[in-house]
């Protein structure tokens, strides 16, 4: 595959861009739900619109009523989501959970609702403050005809609004991924507002009993889900970086100090140019990774680490430079650039930060 969008993909991008810029815009979505202290942190109506637009079905097989497309297409939607800071269950539900459900018996139960933008999923991986899936301690013991889950999870995005939760837990055969319904007995959920006004959750599992078919996959499925989530988060961060840079470059062309547009000052020009160059690198990296995943290439694993690390690093640089170049007003809640800074920080933590992924890449390369 050449490393640019096909005509179909470019059309999808245009559609997603128009849709997100109008329906998913910051005042319409992020600020609205935040300012009304919404307990979900996103709008269900918009999620249904995602369904109507077909976005929810991008990664769903055609046989299951989806579009049967790939990570490139999901990433196109995610970049626009990132660019507009649109709060939605898309990444976790339509990307991570859909990957998890692929080819499982559970898919008949959940996919129709996901396709319609009615069902919301959550993914419970992290157990400490940092993403360390190698060290998962939640235990799934054999119990009767199924399993009994015990332990605690945190940073479960949309965990407080989810119809079901995919829980990574340790079985006797290694790690497994379990689909747990929201009202399972012994499950306690505490919604937690994060800095970007999204809602994560802390969950405790006190001998939560599930059927044997709740186990939808083992270590390989978990890895597949993590790859999908990580490259998805990378795409969203490319969008965050791109939104922050766009807004900042616009500001450089408007704000005057010392009788000149501040964009005329060479030091700011060079920093903006460096940022843009980094953004292009992050974008190419993410696209390359999506293509490798869609091709089922063995190189994808390493490249996922590269994409998450690079997109995270660039997105952080973009919001830092964005706030600094906006000066005082960049610090005010009234301007949007600070919202990008908050979102970037949360997306960096989600599915592992740039340090984690650089370290993982190093281990993969044997050092």
């Amino acid at each position: 595959m050449p490393l640019y969008l096909t005509e179909d993909q470019a059309m999808l991008r245009d559609t997603a861009r128009d849709f997100m810029a109008s329906e998913g815009a910051i005042p319409t979505q992020l600020r609205k739900w935040r300012d009304m202290n919404c307990k979900d942190g996103f709008g269900h109506a918009l999620w249904r619109q995602f369904g109507e637009m077909g976005f929810t079905g991008i990664l769903v097989d055609e046989a299951d009523g989806g579009l049967g497309l790939g990570h490139v297409e999901a990433g196109i939607v995610l970049e626009e989501i990132g660019c507009n800071l649109t709060p939605s269950p898309f990444l976790i539900t339509a990307v991570a959970a859909v990957e998890a459900l692929k080819g499982t018996a559970q898919r008949e139960k959940w996919l129709p609702g996901i396709l319609k933008g009615e069902t919301v999923a959550a993914l419970a991986i992290d157990e400490g403050a940092k993403h360390r899936p190698e060290a998962i301690a939640v235990e799934a013991k054999r119990s009767g005809n199924g399993y009994s889950l015990s332990g605690a999870k945190q940073f479960v995005v949309q965990g407080a609004s989810a119809d079901f939760i995919l829980v990574a837990a340790r079985t006797e055969e290694g790690l497994g991924l379990f689909a747990v319904e929201k009202d399972a007995k012994g499950l306690e959920v505490e919604g937690v507002r994060m800095a970007d006004s999204s809602i994560g959750a802390r969950m405790t599992f006190a001998n939560v009993e599930v059927d044997v078919d709740a186990l939808i996959g083992g270590e390989e499925v978990l890895r597949r889900v993590l790859r999908a989530g990580r490259v998805g988060a990378a795409a969203e961060m490319v969008g965050v970086a791109s939104g922050a840079i766009g807004m900042t470059v616009d500001y450089l062309k408007q704000r005057k100090q010392f009788g000149r547009l501040i964009g005329e000052f060479q030091a700011l020009q060079f920093r903006a140019a460096h940022l843009y160059s980094e953004l292009e690198i992050a974008r190419a990296t993410t696209l390359k990774t999506q293509q490798l995943l869609d091709e089922g290439s063995a190189e994808a694993e390493a490249m996922v680490h590269v994409a998450k690390a690079k997109a995270g690093q660039v997105s952080t640089l973009a919001v830092q430079e964005g706030v600094q170049m906006h000066g005082g007003i960049g610090m005010t809640d009234e301007y949007d650039i600070g919202l990008y800074m908050k979102r970037d920080r949360v997306l960096n933590e989600l599915f592992g930060d740039a340090n984690y992924h650089a370290d993982q890449l190093a281990r993969l390369n044997g050092y």
């Binding site: 005082g328 610090m331 005010t332 933590e349 340090n355």
Partner: protein, 387 residues
Amino acid sequence: MADLEAFRAETRDWLEANCPAEMREPMRSEDDACWGGRNPVFKSEAQRLWMERMAERGWTVPDWPSEYGGGGLDPAQTKVLRQEMARINARNPLYSFGISMLGPALLKYGTEAQKTRFLPEIARGEIRWCQGYSEPNAGSDLASLATKAEDKGDHWLVNGQKVWTSYADKADWIFCLVRTDFDAPKHKGISFLLFDMASPGVSTKPILLISGYSPFCETFFDDVQVPKDQVVGEVNKGWDVAKYLLGHEREMISGMGLGGTGGRLGAALKDKLADDPILRADVARFDVDAMAFKAMSEKFIDELKAGQAHPAQPSMMKYAGTELNKARHELVMAAGGADALEWESDRSRGGKAAREWLRTKANSIEGGTSEIQLGIIAKRILDLPGA
């Protein structure tokens, strides 16, 4: 030297006897700072006592002359006092823009009457001051300010708007840059004016920041009448006073680079670094930078006291210190992970880590941006052409 050691012993005894135990605990947040003022808010009796006892000896401003409420200490004694306070972790008894900013300017540029009137009440924490510098269209380009003060014979008539006025809503008085000559080149027509925030026509509006806090205000002046004798320095020469004062502000802001861990962030984060070798590397480098910066701060203060400091040194301090403080909080956030991202939970003390992190982003903007400081260094130290 023998005298100094006697002074040290005396000071140690006095502090031991007079600094309440509670005032030897580190502050838990900015809220624990004591700011004084007409209607002071003390978080505890210990806080009030500590401020009053220190003010009594003039040690809220140890190096100011005693006739203006200061301690009258020489540089060596002042350093000893600071060392002895640090030894018992004594808190700063009084936070005050009057002390850190206005006071030095008054000492240098004020009339005798102004010094006698304003300095003692600053030293005693009786009047809380705020600073009226920036305006919506005069940020980095401060000298393009438009707030005007017209000479009405027996008073100045002030009209205009300021922004980023720290704690204007809590301040009693303001020191304020205003334009008094409307035809002169922009740096030449500015005066440095003092007035009561209770004057008719003054109003303030807090600015909500990305941290969720509102330490700054927009401040509006609508036909505010100010007595003629409340100009500091010469009329139309307020820019000199402003520059002098900015040096002190920069020094204060740069001090934040050291934070609470005295340049040893890694020791504080230890447990969180064990499974993140890359973060550990960043923190190790940060600790090098922070301890190095601390040495420069110390050198700068020593040189200042000896009258050897280059006038552009506050710019280096401000630039390096604020960039360092931002870096520190990035590392704290990285170490804190998802825990540090909680925004309202009790567990996170209302999102303390995240809000402080966001707050630091202003450090390299307020009091002259990093870019302004670099420009000053390029011009005044390196003498680069056209800087």
